[in-house]
Amino acid sequence: MNVNFSTNKNRVVDIYPKEGVSIYNLATYDDVLVVAEAGQLYGQIYGSTYARVTDKGSPHFGK
């Protein structure tokens, strides 16, 4: 029996703070972006979401 296990921990520390760059596009197509972003794991996926009720006072909140 042969078992291998690995964990993945990484963090983007900075991109180019001197010029205020904290996010860098790795790949983009339409609304889908994959980025390197300061403070996050490398390879964050950005994209569009469903419109939802964000007003906490609304009885439909969360919908």
């Binding site: 078992v3 291998n4 296990f5 339409d30 964050q44 950005y46 469903y50 939802r52 439909h60 919908k63």
Partner: protein, 161 residues
């Protein structure tokens, strides 16, 4: 969900949102082999935990109406999406309008090229049986007699997944 006035889902305004990471938290692989007489059985399990994956393939199949998800109970009947519709005065009313699947999937997956990203973002966790191999080593008395130039002979069946 806040739906359009016809009762179809729509994308939130205000730009793109961070939805998750591509990367797994952990990877695991297990191989093992068992022997019984001349038989050998081996396998490989491969697992990935955590991370997200966006499927453009699914979005395109849904938008063109060939994905299984576009057919409900074997039919393409109109249905009411669970959500609310803006009443124009800052409030919302529960949706009661039925729409046909074509309109629904057009709204979800047909927006631009890839639809609403969130709709086709999946958990990338998976456990796969990648490989199974069953082999049989021919008894010496057979290969020594008939195939003596072969140093050892194994019949093997392998599958990959």
């Amino acid at each position: 969900m806040i739906l359009t006035s016809e009762g179809a889902p729509q994308a939130a305004t205000g730009g793109r949102v961070r939805l998750g990471t591509q990367q797994p938290d952990a990877l695991l692989g297990i191989t093992n082999t068992f022997s019984y007489k001349n038989f050998n059985l081996g396998f490989l399990f491969d697992a990935r935990f955590g991370g997200k994956v966006f499927s453009a393939t699914n979005a395109i199949l849904q938008a063109s109406g060939v994905a299984a998800a576009t057919v409900r109970n074997g039919e393409r009947e109109a249905f009411v999406v669970d959500g609310v519709i803006a009443d124009g005065a800052g409030g919302y009313t529960q949706n009661t309008k039925a729409i046909i699947p074509q309109r629904y999937w057009d709204a979800v997956a047909g927006l631009n090229n890839l639809g609403i990203t969130e709709a086709n973002l999946y958990d990338a966790t998976s456990v796969r049986l990648r490989n199974v191999q069953l082999s049989y080593t021919l008894p010496k008395r057979i290969w020594v007699k008939h195939l003596s130039r072969t140093p050892g002979l194994v019949l093997a069946a392998t599958t990959f997944g």
